[in-house]
């Protein structure tokens, strides 16, 4: 019952959007068909649709490239994030370490990481290695700086409270600093994930044999705009996939920032407590 109502509500809400989209597509199609738009640079929506069907369904060419780019972005992100978090934690634990590392982090921040593309390709070759490396390098900074800022946030009252309980440095760090830093860290991870994808794609533009970036340049330079746009769609999909994965993790881990999740966790803990008490 409740679900049905929700579904109806959804349809009602989506309807105007879909109508608008349909109208735009129809006008576009019409303009090309009637010769209002003549340039080959703007393909008809139906041609893009055809290219999508070909790439994603009948030939299925896209999938190999899709997974290569996805892997490059994710592995690069994993490496970049691991190094960034490790350095941020060390910097927050040791004032000296943080002080002497920070100038290099600043240098890395102000250098456009993209500029390293040719050099990284020379170092790591034409394969996936160079894409992973570039992704790792350019996603490093937003994760590092967000995690460090999060860990350095201090709440005087809460720190005093912990000290009045006789908490050790380690307890203050693990039970207060780290959880308090998580929301900012996740914000950094989300930015980093998007950046990692950019790194992988740009490295593919520069020099590669496989990946959606390669496919994209190939179609573009043979002026096959419909297939090129269809390939672009796969990048959007990778972007959405990565973003929503991170959003999901954020939702689970930083549950106390979400009304709905909080209620669910609260119920789960109450149940766990009661079953614990029963034993």
């Amino acid at each position: 019952m409740h679900n049905d109502q929700n579904r109806m509500f959804w349809i009602l809400r989506a309807a105007p959007h879909l109508l608008l989209l349909a109208a735009i597509l129809a006008a576009w199609e019409g303009a090309v068909a009637t010769g209002l738009i003549t340039t080959i640079m703007i393909p008809r929506p139906s041609a893009i649709g055809g290219a999508i069907v070909e790439l994603y369904v009948t030939k299925g060419t896209i999938y190999e490239h899709f997974f290569i780019t996805l892997t490059e972005a994710v592995v690069g992100f994993g490496i970049g994030a691991a190094v960034a978090i490790a350095l941020a934690v060390s910097s927050s634990l040791s004032e000296n370490f943080g002080r002497y590392v920070s100038p290099y982090a600043v240098v890395l921040n102000v250098t456009p990481g993209i500029a390293l593309t040719p050099i990284i390709i020379a170092w790591f070759g034409y394969g996936m290695g160079s894409k992973i490396a570039l992704a790792a390098v350019i996603c490093f900074f937003p994760i590092f700086v967000n995690t460090l800022t999060g860990l350095r946030q201090t709440d005087e009252d809460r720190e005093e409270l912990f000290r009045s309980f006789g908490a050790s440095q380690r307890q203050v760090f693990m039970q207060l600093r780290v959880p308090a830093a998580l929301p900012l860290m996740f914000a950094g991870l989300k930015i980093g994930l998007t950046t990692a994808l950019i790194g992988a794609v740009v490295a593919e533009f520069a020099q590669a044999t496989a990946g959606v970036g390669v496919l994209m340049s190939r179609f573009s330079f043979s002026l096959n705009m419909a297939s090129s746009l269809a390939t672009l769609l796969s990048m959007t999909l990778i972007g959405l996939l990565l973003f929503y994965t991170m959003e999901f993790l954020d939702d689970r881990i930083v549950f106390w920032r979400r009304e709905a999740r909080m209620a669910a966790v609260s119920r789960a803990r109450a149940r766990a407590w009661k079953s614990g008490a029963a034993h």
């Binding site: 002080r99 456009p112 500029a115 950019i198 002026l223 959007t236």
Partner: protein, 285 residues
């Protein structure tokens, strides 16, 4: 308490010495590694080789100036166009709930797409040359100011908004006197991001087109395995990036003066002088 603040804002001499020592040790061990052949010179040029390259590309050959001029010109053009467009559209969309509602799905999709990925498409559509490069830079510059302006406008303080309306302010007055000033810090944050992206955008455009500009230069040097010169170009970009960062920071402090102590003092004194001058003028008249 006051001396504490000073101690943290101004690094002590001892710390500076350690900073310098670490830096020197890094450079020297890198140099040593390259000289002793532990690092492949072809891929990891020695610091001395990079310094020599700096001399060559800036002074004896002086070839980097032309490419810098080309690239920075494109960055300036693309950034200006893209960010003005972003702020303008952001303000319009932010003020209009209906437009916002219908635009939202497209914004979400566009936000997830790596904008730079459209570069080959734009080059194919607009042809080789400056136009497509500027279009790429515009595209990567547009988004951050757009989103930030939009959110700045949407998140305008409710109470202040109602105050403005109770004073009988028009929509334009609300925008000019409340919404935009309140959104300025957020908009500036967007502009900072945009300018950084513009630098990346021009590089990608030049990597693909390979005709001229600093990106093409880095690519060519790397292809010819002249890594020292490629590194010299990259360190040049580090410097440019640093100047952009500092410049934007100062601009931010000037424009959003009410967010920093020095700005408050400066503008406060200026207005007091202006006020006094006006009063003096009135008294004489």
């Amino acid at each position: 308490m006051t001396d504490n603040v000073k101690a943290t804002s101004q690094p002590k001499t001892g710390q500076m010495v350690i900073h310098f020592t670490i830096f020197l040790a890094l450079i020297l061990s890198w140099e040593l590694g390259a000289q002793m052949g532990w690092l492949d010179k072809l891929f990891f040029p020695a610091p001395s080789a990079i310094l020599t390259s700096f001399w060559r590309i800036y002074v004896s050959q002086g070839n980097i100036w032309f490419h810098l001029y080309i690239s920075l010109g494109l960055v300036f053009a693309g950034f200006t166009a893209g960010s003005i467009l972003g702020v303008g559209l952001g303000a319009v969309v932010g003020m209009n709930a209906t437009v916002r509602r219908f635009l939202q799905p497209y914004v979400i999709v566009l936000e997830a797409t790596p904008r730079i990925a459209v570069a080959p498409l734009l080059i194919a559509a607009l042809g080789f040359g400056a136009t497509s490069k500027i279009a790429i830079i515009m595209l990567v510059c547009f988004f951050a100011p757009f989103i930030n302006t939009l959110s700045g406008v949407i998140n305008v303080d409710r109470d202040r908004f109602e105050l403005m309306r109770s004073l009988g302010a028009s929509k334009i007055q609300v925008l000019r006197k409340l919404v935009l000033p309140e959104a300025v810090p957020v908009i500036m944050a967007g502009e900072r991001l945009a300018l950084t992206s513009a630098l990346s955008g021009v590089l990608v455009a030049e990597f693909i087109q390979r005709d001229q500009g600093i990106g093409t230069l880095i690519l060519t040097y790397t292809r010819n395995l002249n890594m020292a010169s490629a590194f010299a170009c990259i360190f040049t970009l580090t410097l440019i990036g640093f100047l952009i960062f500092k410049g934007m920071e100062r601009l931010d402090h000037r424009i959003a003066y009410w967010k920093n102590e020095a700005g408050l003092r400066r503008v406060g004194a200026k207005r007091a002088r202006a006020w006094a001058a006006e009063q003096g003028g009135l008294a004489r008249a």
